[in-house]
């Protein structure tokens, strides 16, 4: 199963003929992703990487039956592309761009309320189901098919955590990068819900950051409704107050926004927390082992 994308996902790329889009589309295809075409307004009717190019997402969806879109357009154009994808009925839209104006996202989310399109990002490394489908910019060779679900804000911390897991033979079911922006399409809680309902995920890792309460709210939800073990790391224990640490969303506004406050709150909800990012792999390993022991004892 996995969450949001799998081997049957039909992917189109918006901004298809651009340099980055081309590079990552080729990468994704060599990884086995079913890329079925792309959209570049004005270049409809041509082919790129041996695939059809369309003028609009609606055309692309009609012709190819695509249900997932990787949006590789500059930040100023990202929400327009996202709305176009949603109007065309795309099920999952992934926005990679870093630098989308936050009020654009506020308006876009309002517009999309009640529609079925799942937005991943912006400012996201993308989403990957190892061995099946990749829509994003992550280095695919560090991922390993398996049963740990990973959700993170940051791309590079996702790579760091995944490589620690892969080094211990722990594969991943799906890795979702929800992005580092303060207003994003899919929050931690929604991804935890999806992992809870996924038969191929046993343990979930949540990698958050300073700023906001999304991680704590997700942990509170998980304490009540999630049967699978949750391991959490929050980056930014060493971050100063009031400074934006790279990501637009990573700023400590109040006491409850600090990494330690969030880690304590998550621990208070009964979950495992990691205080040193170098310990993520080891902590997940122990959580998987314990979960396995429990399953073994029950059967």
């Amino acid at each position: 199963m996995s969450v949001f994308v799998d081997r049957d996902s039909k992917v189109i790329i918006q901004g298809f003929t651009g340099q980055h889009a081309t590079f990552h589309a080729e990468e994704a295809m060599s990884f086995g992703t079913k890329v079925v075409g792309g959209v570049t307004p004005g270049k409809g009717g041509t082919t790129h990487l041996g695939l059809p190019v369309f003028n609009s997402v609606a055309e692309a969806v009609e012709e190819t039956g695509a249900d997932v879109s990787g949006i590789f357009v500059p930040p100023a154009l990202a929400t327009d592309s996202l709305l176009e994808a949603a109007e065309a009925g795309v099920g999952v839209a992934v926005i990679i761009a870093d630098g989308v104006p936050v009020q654009d996202m506020v308006r876009t989310k309002r517009y999309l309320a009640g529609r079925s399109t799942r937005i991943i990002g912006p400012n996201s490394p993308g989403i990957i189901t190892p061995g099946e489908c990749k829509v994003g910019i992550m280095p695919s060779h560090i991922y390993l098919p398996g049963r740990v679900g990973v959700v993170s804000r940051s791309g590079t911390l996702n790579y760091e955590a995944v490589s620690q897991m892969t080094a211990r033979g722990l594969g991943q079911s799906t890795c979702v990068g929800i992005g580092g922006d303060p207003v994003n399409g899919t929050d931690f809680k929604t991804v935890l819900q999806a992992f809870e309902n996924d038969d191929e995920t046993d343990v979930v890792v949540m990698i958050g950051e300073i700023g906001g309460q999304q991680e704590v709210e997700a942990a509170a939800w998980a304490a009540q409704y999630m049967s699978k073990p949750l391991v959490a790391f929050i980056a930014g224990v060493s971050a100063p107050r009031g400074r934006r640490m790279g990501h637009a969303g990573a700023v400590i506004a109040g006491e409850s926004d600090t990494a330690n406050a969030k880690l304590d709150a998550i621990e208070g909800h009964g979950h495992r927390v990691v205080r040193n990012p170098a310990d993520i792999g080891e902590t997940v390993f122990r959580a998987v082992k314990e979960a396995g022991d429990r399953v073994g004892a029950a059967s």
Binding site: V102, V106, P139, S154, T156, L157, G180, S238, R243
Partner: protein, 391 residues
């Protein structure tokens, strides 16, 4: 991006929000002249720095003659103001705002922010104006009123009336609604992240006036806000951070001894955390971003080395879009062309990692290579704390 109070008030006036009459000046002579031109018997001199907490630090003073205003301005201009928000090093005052003093009947708090939890613009108001709103939130949260704006329809009149009544302005709902809706339009048009008027006042004559103003703008939207960009004051920013931005690097100075050069904001924070975990302290946050060229890495070294507290440098790269061989070339280039007299610890992972390690090995440079994040942080903290300066 932040702007000065006097600039924020200019923007408010352009949206027909009333502010006290005044002018920004750079000399004490000009301060006296402005006081005379404004007329009246009492004026206020306000230090123009981006940090808040000026009042308690002596950055806001009243005077009752143009000579007194000149004297206050003279003492403020060129001085370093240390407030609760500037940090111990303070901020130099290069300009002051001279305003005619207002006759205050009542003070209120009013702000608009993009609220990340509700993912909407929210209006925050309180009858307790002129004080630290976070303190009010802590001590008696019931004194704070919030109103969430639906971006589909914008701020509605009834919401404004609700806020007015909640803070005790039920007798002035019409003028308050005008004030708040103008602030909202400014907030939306100019891509603000935060607009705070603390206090806004009701004068003895019954007018609603923005006595102070603070604005912060969305950096991601500056591409379409040319007029706002014009208001940027680089002297309010750390020169190393400004230089870094010019090179496409995201740098924030901190007070530790381990310099950090990392790709990705999350990993940059994680690297700092690993350093702290090993008993060290990071000297900076630095994200080289995606597509880091050798030149970019060399620039990163130069900026990190400008900090005299740096005793070791940790380069931690997990290359996705980046390429480890380019990063390694940058490290070698920096080490050859710059005098690096502190130990350099390098951890490479991801795309083209073998090529990168080979470049470092073959360079003949005394670089300390690390296997993983934990190893890198341990080695960097050890190097920064070691007695003497290793090779």
């Amino acid at each position: 991006m932040d702007i000065h109070e006097y600039q924020a008030k200019q923007l408010l006036r352009s949206y027909r929000v009333t502010t006290p009459r005044g002018e920004v000046v750079y000399t004490s002579k000009a301060a006296a002249r402005v006081a005379e031109e404004l007329g009246g018997q009492r004026w206020v001199v306000k230090a123009q720095i981006h940090a808040g907490g000026r009042g308690k630090a002596g950055g806001v003073q009243l005077g009752t003659s143009p000579d007194a205003i000149a004297a206050i301005a003279d003492q403020m201009l060129g001085s370093t103001l240390v407030t609760a928000q500037t940090g111990p090093e303070g901020q130099r005052v290069n300009r002051v705002l001279v305003e005619r003093a207002s006759r205050i009947e009542r003070e209120f708090y009013l702000s608009l922010v993009v609220d990340r939890d509700s993912q909407r613009i929210v209006v925050i108001a309180s009858a307790e104006g002129g004080v630290d709103i976070e303190e009010v939130a802590g001590s008696h949260p019931e004194a704070i009123h919030t109103e969430y704006v639906d971006p589909g329809v914008g701020l509605l009149d009834f919401q404004c009336r609700k806020v007015a009544t909640a803070i005790g302005l039920g007798n002035r709902t019409a003028s308050f609604t005008r004030l708040l809706k103008r602030m909202y339009r400014l907030f939306r048009d100019l891509d603000c992240l935060m607009l705070e008027v603390n206090p806004f006042i009701e004068t003895e004559d019954g007018d609603l006036v923005a006595l102070d103003a603070k604005m912060s703008f969305d950096d991601n939207a500056l591409f379409r806000q040319g007029d706002v960009v014009e208001l940027r004051d680089f002297e309010e920013e750390d020169p190393k951070e400004v230089e870094a931005t010019g090179h496409g690097l995201n740098y924030i100075a901190l007070d530790g001894s381990v310099g950090c050069i990392v790709n990705g904001a999350g990993l940059a924070m994680g690297t700092m955390d690993a350093i702290v975990h090993h008993g060290g302290r990071p000297a900076n946050f630095l994200d080289v971003g995606g597509g880091a060229s050798p030149e970019k890495i060399a620039n990163a070294f130069r900026i990190v080395l400008q900090d005299p507290n740096v005793r070791a440098i940790l380069v931690n790269i997990f290359a996705g879009i980046n390429r480890c061989d380019w990063i390694a070339q940058g490290v070698v280039q920096a080490a050859r062309n710059q005098s690096i007299d502190v130990p350099v610890i390098v951890r490479l992972a991801g795309t083209n990692v073998e090529e990168g390690r080979t470049i470092l090995d073959e360079s003949g440079l005394a670089l300390i290579q690390a296997d993983d994040l934990d190893d890198a942080a341990a080695k960097a903290v050890h190097a920064a704390s070691a007695e003497g300066v290793p090779a």
